[in-house]
Symmetry: C2
Subunit: 416 residues, 2 copies
């Protein structure tokens, strides 16, 4: 894989020009993407920018986000050949910071469940996860150092887990969502992918200008001051044995690394909030995608059509009740993060399932999307077949810097 941090260091040391860095990615895409099918569109001639913190960094952008210079199909035949007039806010921001948008990465239809053609780089008979399938696979296959995706249920953290890379879903609206094809705006969250935690943290910092990574000479975090809670939610019982093993090992390794590790139960209000996710998502999808349904019903998949219809049948009272449950859940989440700093939980029930018909299950992700909590997939573990198993770390809303710093230390300990 290509490390964004290593590329930036090489560039800043004058050892690699932005043009060379870009050429490496073009070459890798030409060699690999025929097999991986991570890209919906490749910008064959997009040049490197000479300046900016992301100069020379080729990024893939999930094709649910608008780009003025490349077609944007939202994973749907309805939008084949559609050419937006302006970039999504996050795409424009990446360009302003010097990045090159080297292509649009494959997404499930409207970032929902109907899969793209992308395969898992670790085994092409397995799903790469979704909905940000191409973004995760392109990074995992070593074609690009970084990519942008979105998450409404588990669409950043799950494909990152299945592909064995870092996938970071920031606090709600830390990254702008304007210019994405919205499905459920109160959940839709822009997220980032890179090879490892340090890479994705640097990507986030360079993209936003936020203080998200430790500065040179800054004293390292003392792990003894960080309370890490192994999150005993009821979903845990339904995880694969290999995943449950990995989570135990993760907790042990965190303790060995000096973190203050314990177990913590799931408050009832958070379990109930998780159940409210579908009502909120589908009601909002019924509104956001209502015009697509009215105009293009025959060209949408069955699962999308029925979800939009379901959503339109949800009454305002049912929606309001679900929002109340979410609000109570957020209160309980704040309480929980009074007791721990970081939660550890699986990123998915197990490794990437065999088959390309589904993109896997978001049961370990959707609560955090609804709570707005920052989460990250930490790669490092594998199952007996060698497929990646992802551990998810979660922090309190707004504590993205702590999340990224702790996750970087945990990743190191997982890999030793």
């Amino acid at each position: 894989m290509m490390s964004l941090a290593a590329l930036v260091r090489a560039r800043d040391a004058g050892k690699a020009s932005p043009e060379l860095m870009l050429a490496l990615c073009r070459d890798a895409i030409a060699r690999k993407d025929g097999r991986i099918r991570a890209f919906a569109h490749v910008a064959e001639t997009a040049p490197a920018q000479a300046a900016g913190p992301l100069a020379g960094i080729a990024i893939g952008v999930k094709d649910i986000l608008d780009s003025f210079d490349q077609p944007t199909a939202y994973g749907s035949q309805v939008y084949e050949g559609y050419q937006p007039r302006v970039d999504a806010a996050i795409v424009d921001l990446a360009r302003r910071k010097g990045a090159t948008i080297i292509g649009k990465t494959a997404t499930t239809e409207f970032a929902f469940f109907s899969p793209a053609a992308t395969v898992n780089p670790h085994n092409p008979t397995h799903t790469p996860g979704g909905s940000s399938s191409g973004s995760a696979a392109a990074v995992a296959a070593g074609m690009i150092p970084a990519a942008i995706g979105t998450q409404t249920g588990g669409s950043v953290v799950r494909p990152a887990a299945f592909c064995g890379i870092a996938g970071y879903k920031p606090s709600y609206r830390l990254l702008p969502a304007t210019g994405m094809k919205h499905f459920a705006p109160s959940l839709d969250t822009v997220g980032l992918f890179a090879a490892g935690v340090v890479d994705v943290a640097l990507f986030a910092a360079l993209l936003t200008g936020r203080d998200l990574v430790p500065g040179d000479g800054e004293a390292p975090l003392d792990p003894a001051t960080i309370r890490v809670g192994l999150y005993r939610c009821s979903q845990l019982e339904s995880a694969d044995p290999a995943m449950r093993d990995a989570l135990s090992k993760a907790a042990d390794l965190a303790a060995s690394a000096g973190f203050d590790v314990g177990e913590i139960g799931e408050p009832e209000a958070m379990a109930r909030a998780r159940e409210a996710h579908a009502t909120i998502q589908n009601h909002e999808a019924g509104l956001s995608c209502g015009s697509d349904l009215a105009r293009f019903r025959d060209r949408l998949s069955g699962i999308l059509t029925s979800t939009i219809e379901d959503g339109q049948a949800i009454t305002p009272s049912q929606y309001d009740e679900a929002r109340r449950l979410a609000k109570r859940g957020r209160g309980a989440t704040r309480g929980l993060f009074g007791e721990v700093d970081i939660l550890l939980t699986p990123s998915a029930p197990g490794a990437a399932p065999r088959g390309l018909e589904t993109t896997g299950d978001p049961r370990f992700n959707k609560l955090w999307t609804l709570m707005g909590s920052p989460t990250i997939n930490i790669p490092g573990f594998r199952d007996q077949a060698g497929m990646p198993l992802g551990i998810q770390a979660v922090a309190r809303f707004g504590q993205d810097r702590t999340l990224l710093s702790v996750a970087a230390m945990l990743e190191k300990s997982f890999r030793t």
Copy 2:
């Protein structure tokens, strides 16, 4: 003006067909819009729908919201002739409820400050207010019974006040914003216009299916149980004498109508939140409109260009600090609405200013947009020149039904 409530009653009693109701609007537009210039586009042949709670209701949609069957220019030459593929969520919802989108109403450029060509129906040398200029003027001129607009600062309540109609800005995200040209997503709020409060409340109820208006046979609200607070914010001193008079009279009339009226001061945290509005708005505009600036700088107005540039110069720390002030303000607002149910405050510093170069001042509106509180312009007062003076009622987040019910009673008392 056309009363939406009267039209719906006539239709339901079989006294007016949807076709006839639509024809009345077409005729009024043909006769009046050459002078008022409220419409950016008129759908000459859009038919009436036979069914749905809004069947026969012709509505104007602010041209900042996408429509699949009519060009959508966002008030900008950059988007002249632009034809979205799908409707904005609120437009699709209106169609599903039976409404006819009879045209797109004029907006300032990107719903910011550069004015449209629309004039004030009460005096064509005065601004209609903005940014939802055409929506307010089209209703006020009696061309259509209802219109949809948006508010980021004061773009619903202010033009409603200047045009002497009801303008309702619901609680944040009570109406879906997907498919609008976003300026500052955490502020951008879809709102509604109609001749009077009862009309706009009925419009909101029929559009959303929400329980927002008293049912038949429901006991009327007892005004003695409603605490109305005349809001003594510091802006009040800068309002025109005619407006300060109107506000005093409004408080007196509310007391005469039996409401429990008092005065209430502005908590410091709310005053500081108001000051944070510009930082939040401009930073978000710097992101949302960054691609427009990069691509079309020469075709944007000077005020828009400089605001986007300003926004891009605001650091994440400055933005976060402004968000913290807003959060504290929301806490103080919750506290305030423990003491009163409804606040009364001017909708604008005075009547519509003479001249078409500006659309007036949002100083009485932007706090409530930032707080997410539902607000409404109650028409009824006029200055010595006969120009409308608007009184704004504000309620706690989520208390839209109370706001609309109380505002309807106040409107009645203002008109007697």
